[in-house]
Symmetry: C2
Subunit: 343 residues, 2 copies
């Protein structure tokens, strides 16, 4: 069996802010045979995530953990799809799967313990797209980062940056469910409105309105200090959060998006604060908690069904929209989990 | 009862590098009465520690954790002394104590659970000075920082900065006892020689010989990466260590002495490395582990008796030498634990 399968590639390594012109959509044919041991998936939803930018750089610390992306070649990415042919017992034609697929129409994979792929139950009652957001790596990242790294206790004060994004919007809601006081920041008033009026944050602000964030945090949002900072952005926001943290504060370092596109934009933390306040700063990865994937997504799924967690998604149409969807992540345009739905 | 008791004070807040001229020795009289509930101690040894510099600044994160030092007033400091008068059951004339005393001839204290003071056993067979070094806060800091924050496993690679100092010299030896590979750095060849030939470090180097420490660590000292970095200095050394750390590496942030005297000298860590290598950076304090003081110092005492740990001390004579001893901490002159012996 052979199918036409277009895929999105980068034309060259991408340094700095990405644009649509850095990408091209290429044609290919994917061949599957019953002897291959492989499963052929027609992709239905593809995830579009900021961390992919680090993979596109010529050099990045990212390459220590995830393979770099080779210009011209297919790009693996989380997604959901339908099995159209299978040479494995565990998968049948018509099964719906979520896991590591690719920015392409069809993906071939060979099941193994090292491949993240789950077969969705036929009885699954939640939208398929949620398996890329709250029930996928965004949910895992938010859950593991908040509960395993941040370890919130009721009454603690939690600050979230990029808080209307795929991960931040969940972190804030999860922290409210843990009994915390939650403030988020983001870069537009619409995002602030979403946090305050739909997601149930205690407060939220537009960081563009607060050029002196260190003072603003103290004056307006955390007069009693921050216990947990869930960092998606790095840079001055991290500096300001550290300066306002309480003793034994925890920083869950999830992303430093302000540094992805500009390495000169690095945070210069005051380490005296880190010592004297006995702060823990911990970088983490959702993947490190993979063995607990079913446990975490089970809890999140129940919260969604009970109406306790709102899932915010920003869905573009068609494989051709992947480059613009990706570039939009860095211009502050999107709200919630960015993904692409294939025709 | 009233005694003449001279004390060392700062003339003014101290910013930048301290010098002897920042201090003065002042005369006072200390009055004790049987009704006071207090204990009067004649001080025998006084500890001289870099962290005191942060207390001497007008503004410092230090003040969040430890009271700032007021110009002209007495300065509390760890030390050992002999009880000369006591209005408390637990202490008798002639008892020898170690704990928070002061840079002064005599100290009055009122026993309470919040006051760090221990009475030494009459059978104590180790030099009294060791209760200010390996059996005092330096030992606690090294033990807690390495074992509780660093959590070494046999075979792991440990890097220690300021490694011939009061804390570093113990951390390196403790890490060897944990079965680790240990490399230390310091600023003179005599210190390097001490680490390699007396303290049993696997290797050591003079950081002044390695202007590109990031490359030097990779090339010469940690070709397989660093698992634990015990940081006493901050600045470029921290940046270089982070760049060479392995996945799941731990940084025990004990001191950032290069930043004590020059706040512009801050480390600019690459947070992408921290995320992708899932590094934990944790500021800590020996005081947070005080309830385990007896446990930790018991183990360290046994190691000293068994000849497994060498205690390096640098002892000046007389209260008048406190200012020069303190200033010397920041010029890289001293080796091991700096303290002053009173006449």
């Amino acid at each position: 069996m052979e199918v036409e399968s277009r895929y999105v590639a980068v034309r060259h390594h991408v340094e700095g802010l990405p644009s649509e012109d850095d990408f091209e959509v290429k044609a290919a044919r994917v061949r599957w045979s019953p002897e291959s041991g492989e499963v052929l998936v027609r992709n239905l939803y593809l995830s579009v995530d900021p961390y992919q930018l680090n993979r596109m750089k010529r050099r990045s610390a990212s390459h220590l953990a995830v393979d770099g992306i080779v210009p011209g070649e297919r790009i693996d990415a989380y997604g959901a799809g339908e099995v159209v042919a299978s040479a494995c017992e565990e998968y049948k034609e018509g099964d719906v799967v979520a896991g590591v697929l690719g920015w392409e129409d069809y993906t071939l994979f060979r099941p193994s313990p090292g491949v993240l792929m789950s077969k969705l139950a036929a009885s699954d009652d939640l939208p398929l797209s949620h398996h890329l957001s709250a029930l996928g790596t965004s949910g895992m990242t938010a859950y593991a980062g908040l509960y395993e790294v941040g370890r919130p206790e009721a009454g603690e004060k939690v600050f979230v940056s990029a808080a209307s994004g795929s991960v931040g919007s969940l972190v804030g809601q999860f922290a409210k469910l843990a009994g915390c006081y939650v403030v988020g920041c983001a870069g537009t008033n619409a995002k602030v409105d979403l946090m305050k009026n739909k997601l149930g944050f205690d407060d939220a602000f537009n960081y563009k309105d607060e050029p002196d964030m260190k003072s603003a945090l103290k004056r307006s949002y955390f007069p009693d200090g921050i216990d947990i900072y869930f960092d998606n952005v790095g840079g001055e926001t991290l500096e300001a959060a550290l300066a306002n943290m309480n003793t034994y504060g925890r920083v869950a370092l999830c992303g430093v998006i302000s540094e992805y596109t500009d390495a000169s934009h690095r945070a210069v933390p005051d380490l005296l604060e880190v010592i004297y306040k006995r702060i823990t700063i911990r970088g983490f990865f959702a993947w490190d908690f993979l063995r607990r994937f079913a446990e975490f997504t089970g809890v999140i799924g129940d919260w969604i069904r009970q109406g306790k967690v709102h899932v915010i998604e920003d869905i573009s149409d068609g494989l051709d929209s992947v480059p613009s969807a990706f570039a939009a992540l860095f211009s502050g345009d999107n709200i919630g989990k960015k993904m692409v739905k294939l025709a």
